[in-house]
């Protein structure tokens, strides 16, 4: 939880009319409730992660992180993110562009399909791939014949992660592109720009903040995904365990301190993500305020 997030709790001297402001007692009670709720459910657990991680001292903390299996999990997680984040960023831009700018058959279907990963349980997402590419799956025998391993191997984890993180960039960009309209793009074309020049010089710079925002969320989810990855990974230590899976393994083996040490990596990622998200939101808000009111 970043410090900036608490600003909402500070009493504001905004010109609320008397009719819509509550008696001070009610206000205090509401604020107290919200603070207590947030502390109990958000701050306390987060603090616990860090406290437990360092419970046996800094030495033990670094030991848990430098253990070969932990290192392998970190490396794998970074790899997965490095593959699925660019993949979904490119897809998200393409899909958002197509949806916001063109009318075509099946557009409603595409919009719905993009939301599918958000609607379906991650476990199901994982199972879909097992059923498709697993030994008993539709494509399983063919894949086996050609010696291609997808399930219980890295490709499966990449697929599952990509599926789960599919919507983030597109959902961020569609409303942004729709709000901006295509007049600037038409202007670029009328000045002789090619399609690619228009995209690189006009479209991309205009969506860059929104794209970055989507990527930050996408990355956090890609690194933290548990359910779908758990189904397809097979939990092979040092090979197909990502950070979240490794945390679970450690925890199940009663290595509480080590589990929390590794978990603190994800918690730190969350904090970084929230700060980045907040900064980007501020810049996005400023950008839309600065936009000429007529364009």
């Amino acid at each position: 939880m970043s410090a900036a997030d608490w600003s909402v709790l500070r009493p504001k001297r905004s010109p609320h009319s008397l009719a819509t402001s509550e008696p001070s007692g009610v206000r205090a009670a509401l604020i107290a409730f919200a603070v207590a709720f947030a502390v109990l459910l958000l701050v306390l657990p987060l603090a616990t992660v860090f406290v437990s991680a360092f419970a046996s001292g800094i030495g033990a903390f670094f030991e848990a992180l430098s253990e070969p299996d932990a290192l392998a999990a970190v490396k794998l997680t970074l790899w997965i993110a490095a593959i699925s984040v660019p993949l979904n960023a490119v897809f998200g831009v393409a899909a958002a562009w197509a949806i916001a700018r063109f009318e075509f058959r099946g557009k409603a279907l595409l919009v719905t399909a993009i939301d599918l990963p958000l609607a379906v349980s991650p476990v199901v997402s994982g199972l879909i791939y097992v059923l498709c590419f697993g030994a008993q799956g539709v494509l399983g025998p063919w894949l086996m014949e050609h010696g291609i391993r997808i399930i219980f191997a890295v490709p499966g984890i990449v697929l599952a992660t990509t599926f789960v993180t599919f919507p983030y960039v597109a959902r961020e960009l569609i409303p942004l592109l729709e709000e901006q309209g295509d007049e600037e793009e038409q202007a670029a074309i009328s000045l002789g720009a090619s399609g690619w020049q228009m995209f690189r010089r006009i479209t991309l710079p205009n969506m860059s903040l929104g794209l970055l925002y989507g990527i930050v969320l996408l990355n956090a989810r890609a690194m933290g995904e548990f359910g779908a990855v758990s189904v397809v990974s097979g939990h092979i230590r040092g090979e197909t365990n990502t950070i979240p899976l490794h945390v679970e393994v450690l925890y199940n083996e009663y290595q509480g301190q080590a589990a929390f040490a590794v978990a603190s990596l994800l918690a730190a990622l969350a904090v970084v993500t929230l700060v980045a998200k907040r900064l980007l939101e501020n810049r996005l808000a400023r950008a839309s305020r600065n936009a000429p009111e007529n364009s």
Binding site: E183, E184, Q186, A187, A188, I189, S190, L191, G192, A193, S194, Q197, R201, I202, P205, N206, N290, A291, P292, N294, S295
Partner: protein, 376 residues
């Protein structure tokens, strides 16, 4: 550089935006496409630019069929209604954009592009603002950046979509004069779209009036105002009183009062509507010839005196505007029974109130009473 559109049609779903439009813009012309919203004027402009494809019909630029040419290949400059400035680029980069995206072989050197852009900014009187961002400019300044940007690629035709629509009245007037001057200097064939009749009449050499996807009339300011081809145009170009009348021979009968038709056109006898502008009406004493009216109210608003009256017969309201120096004005008080004289009016057959059928579009009659008849 001439542009010609031949039988252009365009359909948006069930809505007919353009129903077979022919348009010819002469070299060096400054032409206005005037019409209410939904009349198809912007669609026509966008089709000329190549930003929209017609369902049928061809577009010729300098007698070359350009219908299938891309926007960038037509040699046009387009100024968008809301300017569409690139908001992440400085004013200078906005203007330079068209020069920067040229294919490498045709592209000028960086220093040369900068110089050209600065020259253009100087030309549109924005010399000091080259490093500003669009968000830091006023509406009128943005408009001029948009114009400089369009001119940078040396277009042969300039197309402007509602160029003054988003500006306040004062800036609009200044910019209008400035654009007229610019056109007189550059002699670049220009077409602009507007829904403001005053703007069209003041700025353009020729005005094309559009209604419901068709061209109603093409003409100079005088032609349109003095000889409107249809009731729609009469209505659209200013306030109108519509009075039921009857045509018999060479005369129009308005509530029994006879008005001679001072025009050579043949008009079919029968029910008709007289269209007359408030400023083309005069009032005379009860003894004089004319239509009987009763004054309802008199309102003095600076240079113009507005009189609301009612026709005696049909209880029809009539709006009259008189110059405040008119010697009779003090006598016009509410309740006075006077005679109404029509100095100039148009007669349209009653059916013509619907979109004009071709047979009735031609005979437009202007009745004129000479000033001395009134005086006498």
């Amino acid at each position: 550089m001439s542009i010609e559109a031949k039988s252009i049609t365009k359909q948006f779903g069930a809505f007919t935006a353009l129903g077979g439009v022919d348009l010819h813009v002469k070299e060096g012309d400054l032409l206005a496409l005037l019409g209410p919203s939904g009349s198809g004027k912007t669609t026509l402009l966008r089709i000329l630019a190549g930003l929209e494809t017609p369902d049928a019909g061809r577009v010729f630029i300098d007698d070359v069929d350009a219908t299938d040419h891309a926007v960038g290949d037509r040699g046009i400059g387009f100024v968008f209604q809301h300017y569409a400035l690139f908001k992440h680029m400085s004013v200078l980069e906005n203007v330079a954009f068209g020069l920067r995206v040229k294919p490498r072989r045709q592209r000028l050197a960086d220093a040369e592009i900068r110089k050209r852009a600065l020259e253009l900014l100087d030309f549109v009187q924005l010399a000091g603002l080259s490093e500003r961002m669009p968000a830091q400019l006023s509406g009128g300044q943005r408009q001029r950046v948009a114009l400089a940007r369009a001119l940078a690629v040396r277009p042969r035709v300039l197309l402007l979509d509602e160029p003054f629509g988003a500006l306040d009245a004062r800036v609009r007037k200044d910019l209008r004069r400035w654009l007229r001057k610019l056109h007189d200097e550059l002699h670049i064939t220009s077409v602009f779209v507007t829904h403001d009749q005053e703007e069209a009449l003041e700025l353009a050499d020729r005005v094309v009036v559009m209604n419901q996807g068709r061209i109603e009339q093409v003409g100079s300011t005088d032609e349109l105002y003095e000889r409107p081809a249809s009731p729609f145009i009469f209505d659209f170009l200013g306030d109108a009183n519509v009075l039921p009348a009857e045509v018999r021979g060479r005369s129009v009968f308005l509530q029994g009062a006879e008005q001679p038709i001072a025009s050579d056109a043949i008009h079919p006898s029968g029910a008709a509507d007289v269209y007359v502008r408030p400023g083309d009406l005069r009032l005379a004493d009860a003894g004089a010839a004319g239509v009987e009216v009763v004054i309802e109210s008199v309102q003095r608003t600076g240079p113009i005196v507005r009189v609301a009256a009612q026709l005696r017969g049909g209880r029809l309201p009539v709006a009259i505007e008189l110059p405040h120096l008119h010697h009779d004005v003090p006598h016009f008080v509410a309740g006075a029974a006077l005679r109404l004289r029509l100095m100039q009016f148009s007669v349209f057959p009653r059916e013509a109130r619907a979109p004009s059928p071709p047979t009735l579009a031609a005979p437009v009659l202007i009745g004129r009473e000479r000033e001395r008849e009134i005086a006498g």
